[in-house]
């Protein structure tokens, strides 16, 4: 017996439009991501309107797993734009290296993902291993740092840039 697997979203004009509204981080161009401030973690519930009563043979499948919604690597903070800032790294006399900050929970994760080696241990702000000098710019702490930091220092493991920043790695 052939059972047709019927996906209401794929052939419904209504839900197609909806899918375009929902831009996954990383897939959207940076410009789109900026313009589209109405970013939501989960798609709104879609009312599927069928012309006729559902037939017994069609199996309606969810397009997403409610147990595991798409996780966004980009964090949303109320009142703040999604951070895509330039992080310039200055190491001694070497030429400054510029890496963008985006799609990461912390500055440390963003640097690691772009192959910038940073010393770390606890990754939650209490050991101070990642202590880094902030030359210019501002950061926002997502967690209160417990390790001792001087006025010109930051802990990349628990902060994200608020502006473009210049840092000096030890």
């Amino acid at each position: 017996m052939n059972q047709t697997i019927h996906n209401p979203r794929s052939d419904s004009q209504h839900s197609d439009n909806h899918q375009e509204d929902f831009i996954l981080d990383g897939l959207a161009s940076a410009e789109d991501a900026f313009n589209n401030n109405e970013f939501s973690l989960e798609a709104d519930a879609v009312e599927v309107q069928l012309d006729h009563e559902p037939v017994q043979e069609s199996l309606i499948l969810n397009t997403e797993d409610p147990e595991q919604p798409e996780v966004s690597a980009q964090i949303d903070l109320a009142g703040m734009d999604k951070p895509v800032h330039i992080v310039s790294i200055h190491n001694g006399a070497e030429q400054a290296q510029a890496v963008p900050f985006q799609h990461a929970h912390t500055l440390l994760e963003s640097l690691e993902a772009q192959d910038v080696p940073v010393h770390y241990q606890c990754r939650e702000g209490y050991c101070g291993s990642c202590r880094t000098q902030l030359l210019e710019g501002e950061v926002h702490y997502t967690e209160e740092p417990m390790a001792w930091i001087n006025d010109d220092e930051i802990l990349p493991c628990c902060c994200i840039p608020k502006t473009a920043i210049r840092i000096k790695l030890p």
């Binding site: 519930a45 010393h119 770390y120 606890c122 209490y126 050991c127 101070g128 291993s129 209160e144 417990m146």
Partner: protein, 376 residues
């Protein structure tokens, strides 16, 4: 000034310096001069673990198969760790509690020392599981010249502070003749000794311990003695917090806001502090020579360990605001980071994901938004 277990005087706790003010009376935490110590206590309590939770059955097999020179490296390293935690399990209590003046700092010192006793108990757990006769190993700690020599350098500042403070408590400031010996006791000198003791504690926790961690993890990097490495990971997590505690104490002292005299002392001691760091680095390098005397192991040898000593010394001295000594740039043991990070260590199944697992922690904040997708 004699010590009393409950100071009857009424005074403003917030006006007391960290040390050598009024002795603490009410253990209250509703008002705090330095909130950081309360945060450290909370964090340390959330870290609570027991060595018995880590299974060491495979380590016994691994140990039997190790070549002789690697057994020497493993056991000597463990002996050294046992010595360090024996000192740390009691010394902060004995040396600092009689002179502390803030309730939150007093409790931090107690919490800190207590966690060191867990470390000491875990060394016994490791020995029992790994070697046929643990007594032989423990007994050697007081007999082995290489170990006892190191015991002197880790304890001399503590001992000096304890001795001087006992004279100060009994006799007060002045020149005293004690058992025919003339001893000059003054508070400024005592504070100086306290500052240097704190520096040597920071060196113990932030340099000496980390060198020993590197050896423990070097075995695990080759998939040997992995249970031991799991325990050391938990110890490293605690030590990271302790060294943050001593760094805070040192920085608060140096800033002088808490006790202006302490600020002057810190400024005048810079050369000696540098000397303490340098001496410790030299001693650790010498120790590396002893560890690898019969041969090195895959992934770690005397030269690399010595480079790591220099690297970690620079990191730690920079953290307390002094110029680096060796001018190192890169970590010669980059793999150590992932071993030092404790988030992937599994203690109990429910703790697998988050290391500071809080018992009974629930999110009780309910917002109207939480009902947003509810349809009736």
């Amino acid at each position: 000034m004699s010590y009393t277990t409950f100071n009857q005087k009424t005074f403003d706790t917030l006006k007391q310096p960290m040390f050598f003010g009024e002795t603490v009376n009410v253990a209250r935490y509703d008002i705090q001069k330095h909130k950081i110590f309360e945060n450290l206590i909370e964090k340390q309590l959330s870290f609570f673990w027991r060595p018995e939770e880590v299974d060491l059955a495979n380590d016994r097999k691994d140990f039997i198969d190790l070549p002789e020179h690697e057994k020497h490296i493993f056991l000597s390293n463990l002996k050294y760790q046992t010595l360090l935690d024996s000192v740390q399990g009691r010394s902060p209590n004995v040396a600092f509690l009689p002179i502390v003046s803030l309730p939150e700092l007093e409790t931090w010192i107690e919490t800190w020392s207590f966690s060191e006793t867990i470390h000491s108990r875990s060394y016994t757990h490791i020995m029992r599981n790994v070697v046929p006769n643990p007594a032989e190993v423990f007994d050697d700690i007081t007999r082995n010249d290489f170990i006892t020599r190191r015991a002197v350098s880790v304890t001399k500042y503590y001992d000096e502070l304890i001795t001087k403070n006992s004279y100060y408590t009994q006799l007060g400031e002045g020149t005293h003749t004690i058992n025919g010996k003339i001893v000059d006791i003054n508070l400024r000198d005592l504070k100086r000794t306290l500052y240097l003791t704190m520096v040597s504690v920071n060196v113990l926790e932030a340099i000496r311990f980390y060198v020993s961690f590197a050896c423990s993890f070097a075995f695990a990097e080759r998939a040997k003695m992995e249970g031991n490495a799991k325990i050391i990971k938990l110890i490293a997590r605690d030590e990271a917090l302790h060294l943050t505690g001593t760094q805070h104490i040192l920085q608060i002292m140096a800033a002088g806001k808490d006790d202006p005299e302490m600020g002057e002392i810190a400024a005048s001691c810079k050369d000696e502090v540098r000397e303490i760091f340098l001496d410790a680095a030299e001693q650790e390098k010498e120790w590396a020579g002893y560890l690898f005397k019969d041969g090195s192991m895959i992934g770690l040898n005397q030269t690399i360990l010595a480079q790591y000593v220099e690297y970690i010394t620079d990191q730690r001295i920079a953290a307390i605001g002094l110029p680096t000594i060796f001018d190192t740039k890169n970590n010669p043991l980059p793999w150590i980071n992932s071993w030092l990070n404790s988030d992937n260590v599994q203690v109990a199944p429910q703790e697998a994901e988050i290391s500071s697992y809080l018992v009974g922690a629930i999110d009780s904040a309910v917002d109207t938004e939480d009902f947003g997708d509810f349809d009736l």
